[in-house]
Symmetry: D2
Subunit: 243 residues, 4 copies
Amino acid sequence: MAKTIDLNCDIGESYGAWRMGDDAALLDIVSSANIACGFHAGDPATIDATVAAAVTRGVAIGAHPSYPDLAGFGRRSMDISARDIESAVLYQIAALAGFATANGGALHHVKPHGALYNDAGKNAPLAAAIARAVRRFDARLILVGLPESALIEAGKAEGLTTAGEGFCDRAYEPDGSLRARTQRGAVFDDPKQAAAQAVMLAHSDRVRTICIHGDTSNAPEMAQTVRNALLDAGYSIAPPELL
Amino acid sequence: MAKTIDLNCDIGESYGAWRMGDDAALLDIVSSANIACGFHAGDPATIDATVAAAVTRGVAIGAHPSYPDLAGFGRRSMDISARDIESAVLYQIAALAGFATANGGALHHVKPHGALYNDAGKNAPLAAAIARAVRRFDARLILVGLPESALIEAGKAEGLTTAGEGFCDRAYEPDGSLRARTQRGAVFDDPKQAAAQAVMLAHSDRVRTICIHGDTSNAPEMAQTVRNALLDAGYSIAPPELL
Amino acid sequence: MAKTIDLNCDIGESYGAWRMGDDAALLDIVSSANIACGFHAGDPATIDATVAAAVTRGVAIGAHPSYPDLAGFGRRSMDISARDIESAVLYQIAALAGFATANGGALHHVKPHGALYNDAGKNAPLAAAIARAVRRFDARLILVGLPESALIEAGKAEGLTTAGEGFCDRAYEPDGSLRARTQRGAVFDDPKQAAAQAVMLAHSDRVRTICIHGDTSNAPEMAQTVRNALLDAGYSIAPPELL
Amino acid sequence: MAKTIDLNCDIGESYGAWRMGDDAALLDIVSSANIACGFHAGDPATIDATVAAAVTRGVAIGAHPSYPDLAGFGRRSMDISARDIESAVLYQIAALAGFATANGGALHHVKPHGALYNDAGKNAPLAAAIARAVRRFDARLILVGLPESALIEAGKAEGLTTAGEGFCDRAYEPDGSLRARTQRGAVFDDPKQAAAQAVMLAHSDRVRTICIHGDTSNAPEMAQTVRNALLDAGYSIAPPELL
């Protein structure tokens, strides 16, 4: 039987009059979507339309909560207390889940965005606050993070199902961390390179979902190349199953 | 058998470092609380704590959605499209409901705040957008508005249970509208005057819930006087029942 | 001697990670730029870079203040008190002027944005509040508005220099108002049609500045066509002179 | 001749419907005021009124720029790039200066707020960005910071006049840093203790301005006690002179 791998993408990152990403094209390719919840991107009408588009295509819906930082697109670390982060993440998950329900779907997973994702990979109290927010809202939701990170550990400690994530279009350091975006060669432009890394990541038993970024100019082409390579390698592409 | 009347109050209107209202005192007196959802007041940690306090006391939890206007405390009309309002209200209801669930309670009703409440009383497309948002999220929720207003009509058209609201501490015009806050005598300071009006409102079959404001300096005393007067008049005080 | 006409454009409307408009191309064509001040678009770093680019090219720098409404891009009317609008406009003008000074330039004019522009054309108290803000900050600044509008009248009443504005890429109604964007044919796509209307507007003694929009896909081409037509018609293109 | 010392206070920290501090009482006591610029507190109408009150009393007007964080009151560190901070501080200084001019006064100094103040005391690139913003706007402005901090060093490197600040109501550690607010005894409640520390700080040639906090319940009483003690010790109380 074919091993299953998930292909996920961050979408819904427009805001009001400002557009970002080719969400419709990506939704035809991925199996999971992490949808901005309004704190780094995603006004309510954008969320509503994005969730509806994901439900229509049967793509699994994830909340993509962030630090409260529209001007910085959630890419700047903020020194927020665990109590405030827990409530802020719960707020965002709940809002996103409401749109899922209202559009005939259901929330499937939670993946922190940007600086919150990176910080939660290393900062145990922050990771614990996020995991508590997920568990308090719905303990069946899947928490997505870097394999063996503080976030995944915190998710397990709260009794959540977790999913280790790999990045097919980002360079890794030998210690398994992502190369900083400010470094040369940190982001792959070549679809074939991304596809090769995707297949390698899929072979790893630490990775259950592979992220493809949607904010590059050739994102749909790259996503399609990655998807085809995974299918050619014998994988079926589907989201992790909920308990 | 005693007729039942609901006593409601707007709470959770602090924001970050800024405090507003004596929520703890009011929660000991009212039967329903309309809790700010983050758009006019109420950061996530404030919402979390406010909802927890309401659940502890068995007070019915309502979402109190607003125009997106922190600087204006939701008291300024905004010319927002029906589509955007529908999504904005759904977002706020869902976020509030998530905190209710996470704290062991459940969302009970929705009452628009400030300018959104006033505008929705007169503007049918706006009222319809709000009612759609409520119905899409959970068709069993109760929609609160001025009796016979466009909002109540819209709620009925969407098949929602509705509750007409009276204001015990505000002067009415002969046509049944509220006297504008900018007019002399628009707001009652005297607890006895508010109590007398509350009993009068309770007698009306158009009113199922009576609002007591929490932002006056003697709000808890006034709320207690109103509550006692309603009990003395033979009413039992409880939220409207959910279907 | 050639009559002088000003060609203006709204720019600096990116925000954080979100891009909008081809500002560099437009700045090579226009004589005046209306720069977003942070309330509908324009984070501080965007303002700084946009002002620097305008100063380098000798383009006259205008403040483009808005209602406080990032999510609505300043296109939604808000019922804000005259006192609050006066302070909000003063805040935005002052911030923009600071960047002009810091980059070796100087503020030249003020043109309200979007819904604030439209509302101030008809609402005398609102127009007066804007004009007071301009006069309080610097009485030599030029106030731009629709010819014979309430805004222009208010500017004159405050002793400001005013400049009537025409729109070369928007259809007019017989009464001189702009056709609503929601109507068919409200916005011209054809550069030649815009160029013809620009020349007609330049002939009018009510118009001292012609606006070319920067948010259409072919904005730079259209702006160049308009500029060439005005030059061919014998106009020199330059901003109105400051007193 | 009497040595001169400055007594400063953070004010203007209300926001919309939310009140904070007894600004009027404090303005009668201090010689300098640091006024919130809208990023952690201070909507435009509040800034306008606060600046007007300071000008009326002849109190020196300072800008009190912050990280962009209303929900956190500017008390949370944010990892913002030097370029973005430089523009964000310039924006806030310029806006505040505009209100000073419009109310018949002039900007006198700049003192970063909260987490930005603390971070700039230790982080040289951050401090340099702030100092550049001040110098670019007006090189005669005085930059206020902890004595011998990175911020004061950066100000000197940009050629600014600097003023070392002492805190009369905060406990110091032996290394000269402030005891963290989360520690026992970090904040003095006793006006006499604050007064004694104020006199001691005034004796130091490293301190030119003494801060008194306005957000405690007895702030005006404490400020008056401190002022009287400084006068009794032979100091005259006045802001540092501008070049």
